[in-house]
Symmetry: D2
Subunit: 213 residues, 4 copies
């Protein structure tokens, strides 16, 4: 099985993106499964273009896109991407679309086809704090996830794909005490465990989520 | 114009539901617009059935469903409902579905057709803390919102509808210090201002959201 | 019985201080007890000087100083003031002392002699979210509280005095969604109830606090 | 120089205490400085007795007591201990004192004599999230810190001592997503860096704290 795993470049006022810090340390093979990694620009439009180009190049079975969610305390496995761009701040090329659809004629949302509950369960057993998230936001992270799932649904139905948000790295919070973080090594181990879970899980398990409303 | 505004009954360990506390105090008319209110059970399935029955009865132009989101600090105007039931705790009839679709052949999600940015802008001008939310969760609140929007899309395309989450009332947090709350009077005023905004707004304004990832 | 109740002027980037917004609306008499109010500058040194001058002028039996604690969700009744100035940002005159004692030869801290548990209990009964706080910080609020208690201990042992932190007002958080707030009317009612409790309570009740570590 | 470093046993519903998990992994020597470790019961009274007994036994130059502060996101270096026991829940022997002094004739509080700002600065340089805390609470942690500082002030003025709170370990939060945590390895490294800082710092540096009110 072949995995394409992407990490975003830094954005906002950050000098690093913990997503790429972790992704770039992945090995090229785990338990016989190949892994290729790619860095993705934090730019509306261009991020999807780059991702699709690399999917065409690498022909993976699974695509995992990784991004930073500053303030969150867990690896959060996104359940759904919604068809909207709504940027609070400009992307790395200065674009800040407000309430515009990602795909003019696309559906309002796509669920991931990753085994999200199995991922949460397994990583928890390894003491890596992980949870389901029901919103990937409306910035470039959600944008890329929607673009990936739209491409899968319309062009490559055999690919499995989804998006994982990671917390800040420790170096990003030393001057913001009280803000949650996760060491990059723990993110990396989390990604390695995800590869193993996804490789062996055909259909997701049933397990209650923690969130309510 | 006629508004149907619903509030959920209490659930979990709560003896009140601030949503219904506020909704039940609405007058029957604001600026010439009629308002009818209904209480809705916190039950998967039965909540949608009750709502649709009351829509058929009252024939409203706008349907607003209101629910409690304990821990949130604002009136949160939900942008989207997703096609999944994933209950962390049983509903008021003991049902706790895990990862089941609400509508077997429905789309993954529906966006509300309310002018959500205009609502946030106007209520902010009245100093009522309000924000957009990109997730109504996966419990009965999201369930009802999805059921409403599915009914609108498939049966009543001229109705406008959506869901608003309210914080805890003060009485619910006096023994949980640190938990956000909003006085019921402020929720009530917020609902009154929403009626006014919705009545005069044909298409939503463009305004950046506060959230990111 | 005569109460002197003070509220700070605005500081930081705020155009109002909810403490003074509430204090300035107090009546001059509650249940036969006189109330005088004073606004206090957010300035190290000058705040204490102003307070002592007004105590000498008004000769109160009880002194309550009120300040803003942005981000907190309750009226927080401070238990203790510590003998240190440690300013993260300059006060309204540009002073930013780091780790300097307030009183060179003063003790490390003073406990308030207000009936703090009785206050929390009574306000809770009126559904006004209130809690004990074990830290008034190290900025001008703690500074004024320490100055008050030092003056009481060394010069006026019959006066009862303490400090109450209030949350942001709603107008301060409409552009910061997710931040806790309290309507100024609720703060005002809280202060009125405190006057009543303090007037009738000689020694504090015993009641467990909510905080731990 | 000789360090006595203590960690509390588990309390509440926890099966581990991350403080002792980290402390028990310390080596017996760092850069020529000796380190002895001891586990302390989470019991009012007995915790102080045990600590003093071990101080008399080991005759250390520096005493660091470490405890768990569930929910905090940083290593928090406590600035001050206050003369009060106020237990929200029973200790490990069932004691739950409410608003009782720790030392009947002791002062209201003691500041630590550790170089707290130098510790925060150095650990930040190593990307270990660390901050000053102005409250150690009113439970057994504050109790032990006060007991230590009272003993130092009255009996052993040459000893330097203080208290450090650590976050939950990852294993404690996997079923509480959203709760901050820190890997035990990072806590351990933090303690090792503290030993180095304390060993070389005679008087603390001046550096603004992050907290306000």
């Amino acid at each position: 099985m072949k995995f394409l795993i992407t990490g975003f470049e830094p954005f906002g006022r950050e000098s690093i993106n913990p997503a790429w810090e972790a992704v770039s340390q992945l090995k090229s093979e785990y338990m016989g499964h190949l892994v290729v990694v790619e860095e993705i620009p934090v730019v509306f439009g261009a991020s999807i273009d780059r991702l699709i180009e690399r999917i065409e190049l690498h022909q993976p079975d699974v695509v995992l896109c990784i991004g930073q969610a500053g303030g969150r305390a867990t690896l959060s496995v996104e359940r759904v991407a919604i068809n909207i761009n709504d940027a609070r701040m400009p992307d790395n090329k200065g674009n800040a679309p407000i309430d515009e659809p990602i795909e003019q004629s696309g559906p309002d949302a796509y669920f991931t086809n990753l085994p999200i509950k199995a991922i949460v369960k397994t990583l928890g057993e390894y003491h890596i704090p992980t949870s389901i998230s029901n919103s990937a936001g409306t910035y470039v992270c959600n944008h890329l996830m929607y673009g990936l799932l739209h491409f899968i649904h319309t062009m490559k139905p055999n690919i499995r794909g989804g998006f994982i948000h990671v917390p800040y790295a420790p170096s990003q919070v030393v001057d913001r005490p009280g803000t949650a973080f996760m060491p990059v090594d723990m993110m990396l181990e989390g990604l390695e465990r995800m590869i193993e879970v996804i490789a062996v899980t055909d259909s997701d398990i049933k397990k209650a989520d923690h969130a309510i409303h």
